[in-house]
Symmetry: C2
Subunit: 231 residues, 2 copies
Amino acid sequence: MPPSPHIEQHFTAGEAVRDIVIGMSDGLTVPFALAAGLTGAVSSTHLIVTAGLAEISAGSIAMGLGGYLAARSDAEHYASEGRREEEEIGTVPDVEAQEVAEIFQSYGLTTEESASVVASLRRRPQHWVDFMMRFELGLEKPEPGRALRSALTIAGAYVVGGMIPLSAYLVFSDAHRALLVSVAVTLAALGVFGGIKGRFTGAPVGRSAFQTVVIGGLAAAAAFGIARLIS
Amino acid sequence: MPPSPHIEQHFTAGEAVRDIVIGMSDGLTVPFALAAGLTGAVSSTHLIVTAGLAEISAGSIAMGLGGYLAARSDAEHYASEGRREEEEIGTVPDVEAQEVAEIFQSYGLTTEESASVVASLRRRPQHWVDFMMRFELGLEKPEPGRALRSALTIAGAYVVGGMIPLSAYLVFSDAHRALLVSVAVTLAALGVFGGIKGRFTGAPVGRSAFQTVVIGGLAAAAAFGIARLIS
């Protein structure tokens, strides 16, 4: 029998796509909203560009390092839980065997029906550890080297996303004209990004584009309103 | 046999804790770095407070809505994959039964050893669907009502986190004095937050506190440097 082709239909976004989505979602939204908000309070594009670049550098570093540490801590969590399972399988195999039976019971199987699986796992301790990691704890084995790649991808996507709204303020010296161009360019970019994101995550493309535009628009409108209110 | 007490040692952070960590990590870092960066470029605390509040409103809305949509799309993904598995179990049960056998093969079990599990699942289609969701696709059933709760928790944590560095600029009218106080207060808050986060995620408390302080400090230093460079 050939490998079942239908498995590929369960497509979910790869790690790199997920990292780009994380970085670009915030990169397109927060610097955009900050620049729009400041346009409600000051008229110097130089100051808005300064604040925008400060935000982009801060945001990309914070998100990139955050992603790095999250990936590292996932890997450490997996390793430490793995050692614990290994130890338990060595010291209290009967308790662990009972846990395997309980996992199957939650899917309606009697202890007799799962007995052959339990017996087989008991003969293969390393497979047993892997089985408990996935089926008791729901943990996936992390890919090596992922932490650094993840950090650079998230930070890079944040910078690229953030430069789109800011570019209008670099081109036009009148802040209000720059705001109009920035709004138009960024809402269009959010729509395209939302649509592409929908393709990768399996959400309907039109709805994903619409939602992404609404988030960016609401965040920018709120920032604009608050900055205008207090200035 | 009583429920095995050792399971509780596999403690992982609850959803609410995870959302607070997501919101507060960025909330403590990005507005802090932005305010520090602007202090390198302007001397008016009023403008820094304006930019800071604009950032906090933009960031909390963007992260909160982002969290809402992520939780909603997880729930929809789960439901649509569930319908697909249900349909496949109805139309091509032999292919699905073969997939169950393959899952067990990856843990070293022969087709004979897993046969009784496969036979039992074939008699209980609903359990079979649940089994495939967890063990083939690695998907967890999402909690209902989670999306809204998640959005409000993330946004609230972002606002609370962001007001800590900004509070110094509200109290002191001299931007450079405000910066010194903001740095001291925020690095202390990052350390406490990092330590608490470590307790919940199972990382060593001291290392978690240190890493969190370093991320915030680096992001703020980079923002300060870039803003000073271009102003």
